[in-house]
Symmetry: C2
Subunit: 177 residues, 2 copies
DNA sequence: AATTTATGTCAGCCATGTTGACATATTTTG
DNA sequence: CAAAATATGTCAACATGGCTGACATAAATT
């Protein structure tokens, strides 16, 4: 009560540290690493008038060509109204095309164009370079440990999303045909 | 030209894969891992009417008690107008207090209150638990490999931000006194 | 024929970032 | 001491990208 303001909540002058039983090192490393990891594509996107939302859509359409709008909503976990805005822009700018679903003509299958493919690769390239540099003097086992850790950080019920991506299923198309 | 629309950009039906020379595995693992990593505190914050912006402010004030507004802006890399809104809320709700700087009375040193400390720990705890679970059967060397990788993902010029945090400097206050 | 489903769209709200301009108190400088 | 620079606060306007709710359309299913 030697303090001077009416509310007079006492300031705590000591820092939270690892001694509090919290793994602060990795919490903060993830924060800073992810921030810089996303800064690469963010810069490129700004030049197109696009944002991170466009990046995510473009990425998954390139990774799962022919996926439907509903499937994309599942992966991104956003509402269709949110998707609509960025998807419309990507279609208007010729990065993505919609084809009527062959089985169910209500569905719209989403495919990248050559332009969309190029942009997706241009966005992924600096991220890949950063990863490559960060793994420069890493043993194969170390890389394996990092992948295992990151996958274990994902909620178990969503790990299928990762397993279903074509890089991990050796060229299998995402669809059921 | 068997397609039907005027723009008629050809759909690409193959997926981008690791064969394109891109490290898609880790790119996507980072995306999914970070999404779920942040979902824990996001849920708690929603109950307070707070967002991720509040989390970041609260976290660094708890990690560097007594830092000034300008220092916080440096760490967060946002504008003071952006900070003003969330900081005001955190002060109004009694999570953070401002003290006039002792050396320079223009400065406002930011400190957590007991309430703010508790919330910061409550937000960090599930993240720490998730990390702990993900490292369950990891060797110490594996953990070291993960930390090295994450740090190497950060832009070199900003790695000092990590080194200056008290967990990594063994209790040293961030200030110069 | 009626219902359900997949998609699109309109309108409005909220959170969090931005820029620019200006006010105030305080410190530093000439 | 007066002037300039600095630290902070605040006002206004704007952009992005989420959200909800409501409703329209076409196609598939019942």
């Amino acid at each position: 009560m030697s303090k001077h303001n009416g509310a007079s909540a006492e300031p705590i002058r000591t820092a939270i540290t690892n001694d509090d039983g919290i793994d602060l090192s990795i919490i903060e490393l993830l924060f800073f690493a992810y921030r810089d990891f996303t800064s690469d594509p963010d810069h490129i996107l700004a030049g197109y008038g696009f944002g991170r939302a466009h990046h995510r859509v473009l990425h998954f359409v390139n990774r799962m060509p022919g996926l439907t709008v509903a499937e994309l909503l599942d992966v991104l976990q956003i509402t269709k109204q949110s998707l609509a805005r960025v998807l419309k822009q990507l279609i208007d700018t010729g990065h993505i095309v919609q084809l009527q679903g062959p089985r169910d003509r209500r569905q719209r299958e989403l495919y990248p164009t050559a332009k969309g493919r190029e942009l997706a690769l241009a966005l992924a390239r600096p991220q890949s370079r950063r990863i490559h540099a960060a793994l420069e003097n890493a043993q194969p086992a170390e890389r394996q440990g990092i992948e295992s850790f990151l996958k274990a950080m994902v909620n178990p019920e969503w790990r299928v999303q990762i397993d279903n991506l074509p890089a991990n299923t050796r060229g299998k198309s995402h669809g059921d045909e």
